[in-house]
Amino acid sequence: MTAANRSPWQRLLKIPTAVLGLAVIAAICLVALLSAFGVELTPFAYDQTSSDYLAAPSWLHPMGTDELGRDLLARIIYGARLSIAIGLTTALTAFLIGSVYGAIAGFSSPKVDALMMRGVDIAYSLPDLLVMILIGVVMGRGTFGILIALGLVSWMGTARLVRSQFLTLKNEEFIEAAYAQGQSNLNVILKHLLPNALGPIIVALTFTVPSAILSESTLSFIGLGLSPPACSWGTLASDGWRSLRAHPHLIFFPSLFIFITVLSFNFLGDGLRDALDPRTRLGKGK
């Protein structure tokens, strides 16, 4: 059996970095979920203070404690909920806005389409962080405000993708057949076009999650994102930054988790892209 004959899923499982990424993501999501359902994974609660403050990593506190004596591991597990949730919600928002916008553009007259895509081009060329900071000025710096800002800067890639997929697929015979059966536009889009365009969309969304996690942590780090008592990996790293000189573990561990998670999503995204399109593979020869 040659590589091209296998299903995308089988091909994905042949890429070591993608499997590693998938495993790490699954583990982190599992921990975040368990914590969200109230399972206590550490002997300390995330907000439990103690007199043992700014302790270096030890058996009792594997990642040390912060300036209020709170266990850093417990806080990182708690922060995982918010960071992962922000990443996934942004991907979902990008998918919803992007596919509606892209579908409308792909189905409209060439003039409307050109105008809509010109708008996307301009929005796409602006630095995300700049736009997010400006939106944050209006929306406030709570979780909701951050989610709106992230959603508003993340959908353009999906919109472009959905549009181009629709433009190519629109003239295929199976679409003609669906219309011949008397199916409505909406039905054709939802039942025939979207499922067939799903592969590249999933790849794009897999890259949206890590970039959302990065944007949120960066915003929180420079003090324009979430602020305490909200607890994400970004706010934890921001807290740790202030004591970099004396207590580097406080910034090291949150950063490590951001890095591992983002890297895993990027590996998975690369793997998915290669699995869905064998031509781009890192494989041997041509």
């Binding site: 060329s125 000025v137 790293a237 930054w241 950063s255 890297l263 041997k284």
Partner: protein, 305 residues
């Protein structure tokens, strides 16, 4: 060529107007003004301050006043840095950010482009996997983590480079390296994709089949042709560097535009927010315009039109 430049400049005016209007609207919707601080000022003083800065006028009047001033190149006054106009502040901050950005972009090109080319020319081999692993690391590491690690190692532990500020050439090294990671990784990926595409072209096969040495084929036919897309990403690269500068200038306490933008947002310093955003917008437009012009110049097929 000349008419192209003129046309692009004229086309950028409505875009700038839209950016100015949108930013103005965004900033003015916000609850709270620049003079709401923790220690509340007496109401008479607030009223006087508002009157001085025309904040007591209806919003549409403020808008026309603002656009009018913009057209004369006057970006207004900072509410927080007393007695300094936004023009003054940006006049000092722009060169700082510019130097930092150019050094970082230079580093990104010096490291990113060869990395991508080596990866593509050794496709599937160890060098390729390693290069792509490095570039994936580059995009996965947040700027503040790179900066924190560099500061910890080189400034705190080894004490060979300064922790921050912007004084001597030594102060440029750590921030520029931090800022270079993300565009470097982007360039490496782009170069790899571009070289892989060119390698498959007919002219490369022709070059090989006429007995040209491998080195000459690579330098004259593959690299030269695959660098074209790399030249044209100056627009996105400028955007990446601007984004990075927010973090890097914050971490290293560099008095550049990114840092002033962030403090302006924190202080609700309206005119400074608007002014910095306008400068960023102009920068992006100029970068994209430059790309269009270089593209025409590089590709004779486009020059004909």
């Amino acid at each position: 060529m000349f008419s192209l430049i003129i046309r692009r400049i004229l086309m950028s005016i409505p875009v700038l107007l839209i950016v100015a209007s949108l930013t103005f609207a965004l900033v003015r919707i916000v609850p709270g003004g620049p003079f709401d601080s923790e220690k509340s000022l007496p109401p008479e003083i607030v009223a006087n301050l508002n009157a001085k800065y025309h904040l007591d006028k209806p919003v549409h009047e403020q808008y026309f006043l603002y656009i009018g001033r913009l057209c004369r190149g006057d970006l207004g006054v900072s509410y927080k840095y007393v007695n300094r106009t936004v023009n003054d502040i940006l006049f000092d901050a722009f060169p700082v950010s510019c130097q930092l950005g150019i050094v970082a972009l230079g580093l990104a090109v010096i490291f990113g482009v060869p990395l991508g080319a080596i990866a593509a020319l050794n496709r599937g081999k160890r060098q390729d996997v390693l290069a792509m692993f490095l570039s994936t690391m580059g995009v996965s590491l947040p700027g503040f983590v790179i900066g924190a690690v560099l500061i910890y190692v080189f400034a705190i532990k080894l004490r060979i480079l300064p922790v921050g500020l912007w004084e001597s050439p030594w102060h440029v090294i750590l921030p520029a390296v931090t800022l270079a990671f993300s565009p470097g990784a982007y360039l490496a990926r782009l170069t790899r994709a571009s070289v892989l595409e060119v390698v498959e072209k007919d002219w490369v096969r022709t070059a090989r089949s006429k007995g040209l040495s491998e080195e000459k084929t690579i330098v004259r036919h593959i690299l030269r042709n695959s660098l074209m897309p790399v030249v044209t990403v100056l627009g996105p690269l400028t955007a990446i560097v601007i984004t990075g500068s927010f973090v890097v200038e914050y971490i290293f306490a560099i008095p550049g535009m990114g840092r002033f933008f962030i403090t302006a947002v924190m202080n609700r310093d309206y005119d400074l927010i608007l002014g910095t955003t306008m400068v960023f917008a102009v920068l992006l437009i100029v970068a994209n315009m430059f790309v269009d012009i270089v593209y025409q110049w590089l590709d004779p097929r486009l020059r004909m039109e």
